[in-house]
Amino acid sequence: MIRDVTLGRYYRQDSFVHTLDPRTKLCGVAFLIAGIFISSSVISCIFTMLCIAALVWLSRVPLRYMVKGLLPIFVFLAVVAVLNIILVPNGVFRAILISLRVVEVIFASNLLCLSTRPREISNGVETGFSWMRHLKVPVHDLATIVSIAFTFIPILAEEARRILDAQTSRGLDMRKGGLVKKTKASVSVIIPMFVSAIERAENLAVAMESRLYGCGEPTRLHPLKYSYDDAAAYVCIFTYLLVVILMKVGRL
């Protein structure tokens, strides 16, 4: 399953969504998620879904690529939905609505990752929250952490795969045996995984230090600049949230 994770992976494309300023996209995702939490009716849920569908279409990321990466999460959601249906009175309707909203949140945040490189996201976070520097918040360091985390998700996933393969070839079978045996088996994967992650982190720290991290006030190769597209996008984002709030107030 790990092999198929596309969460946090960038999909290179030249689209309207890809070229937006990362700050705009971060704000957009935040508003979408806020909207999803506000909306509790079927109509507003469908409205949100249409908005997200429009964004996916604009981003020109193949839907198949997006969905494939989310498959493990859908399995999990299906289990939750079934439990809801069985255990909660009037569960069918609520279960569907809740699952739908979770799917919306996942799609919205996944679209951000697919259309924005980790460095851009961190750049957006850093520039967007630069005012917090006055409150002694280490904005630059936090943004760097975010970007490294995103960069290393696929690398660590690949590594986990490799270790799993290596242990399997030595006779490890994750599917056989009782709980104790299975737990032991996963330990034999998790420990080497942990060791290698720490080693990588240590190496990366040295690499960053020797490349003058923390030398002074850093600049950016591509300083962020808003364009007219961003203005248009902000208008859409605010309109979306307004509509959702109006629906809530109007009990639609």
């Binding site: 960038y10 490294i148 690398i155 690499a207 020797s210 490349r211 991290y213 850093p218 600049t219 190769l221």
Partner: protein, 266 residues
């Protein structure tokens, strides 16, 4: 005055001695190869020269600055950039240009300046076509080139490479070695390279052989006796592969590198 100097340097990891009594003097513009088997302390030495770690005894100076002097740490790292052993663990950016920009951004340079330096080093390393690629999609040799480019961008006088060649195949290896020699010849860049492979030392100005944390030999390649004999015989077999006639006696009698230069090989 020497560019890099180590005087009586020892280093231990939590009581475990990794280097002891190292004296080293590297002149500006030299091509230096530090040879040694696994665990002999090559990486430790490389990190000491870059002020990543500080000697437990003795002192290291780079361009007149002591590494123990906190105020000059960044000057030292700019003067002598360090390329680590595994490229996968030191690529930070998610495009080639972003990765090269990392050090320059940290230096606080103006974007247009960063841009022109990137163009420069991409040309030097032959990666111009890969400027906007994802570093993870590069070949092993290209990744190594990228790591070198990231250090060259700082425009220091010296580059330290810790086993930069060990994971490469023959072709990529030659590519990197040629680049380093060209930079050394044409730009006067000081190169300090660690390696396990005697072959890398043949064209060096200075060879330093480490074993078990001590310098066991140093000098010009033709004067250096390779002390562990196992080392010598492995190179002898390599030479035979290349159709250079080497007799066992020459190897064990004179030390390998000397034997090589007698034969006029390479």
């Amino acid at each position: 005055m020497a560019l890099i100097e180590a005087r009586g340097v020892s280093y231990s990891y939590n009581g475990k001695q990794a280097l002891s009594g190292i004296d080293l003097s590297i002149g500006s513009g030299q091509f230096v190869v530090v040879l040694g088997p696994n665990g002999s302390g090559k990486s430790t030495l490389a990190r000491l020269l870059n002020a990543i770690i500080l000697p437990t005894q003795g002192e290291v100076s780079v361009d007149g600055h002591l590494t123990s002097d906190k105020a000059s740490v960044f000057d030292i790292r700019k003067t002598a950039g360090l390329v680590l052993q595994n490229p996968d663990n030191q690529i930070i950016g998610d495009t080639v240009e972003d990765d090269i920009a990392f050090a320059l951004e940290n230096m606080g340079l103006h974007p247009s300046w960063i841009d022109s330096i990137i163009t420069d080093v991409l040309e030097q390393t032959g990666l111009t076509a890969q400027r906007f690629s994802n570093p993870r999609e590069l070949s092993g040799g290209q990744k190594e080139l990228l790591c070198i480019a990231g250090i060259l961008a700082m425009k220091g006088r010296c580059i330290i490479l810790d086993e930069a060649l060990s994971m490469l195949d023959r072709e990529n290896r030659n590519l990197i070695v040629d680049l380093l020699h060209r930079l050394n010849r044409e730009n006067g860049l000081t190169v300090v390279m660690t390696s396990q492979d005697t072959e890398d030392a043949l064209d060096a100005d200075l060879v330093v052989v480490l074993d078990d944390g001590k310098v066991v030999a140093s000098g010009k390649p033709e004067d250096v006796r390779i002390v562990p004999e196992s080392f010598a015989s492995s190179v002898a077999s390599m030479l035979r592969e290349r159709n250079v006639a080497v007799s066992e006696e020459v190897v064990s009698e004179d030390g390998l590198l000397k034997a090589l230069s007698k034969k006029g090989a390479v």
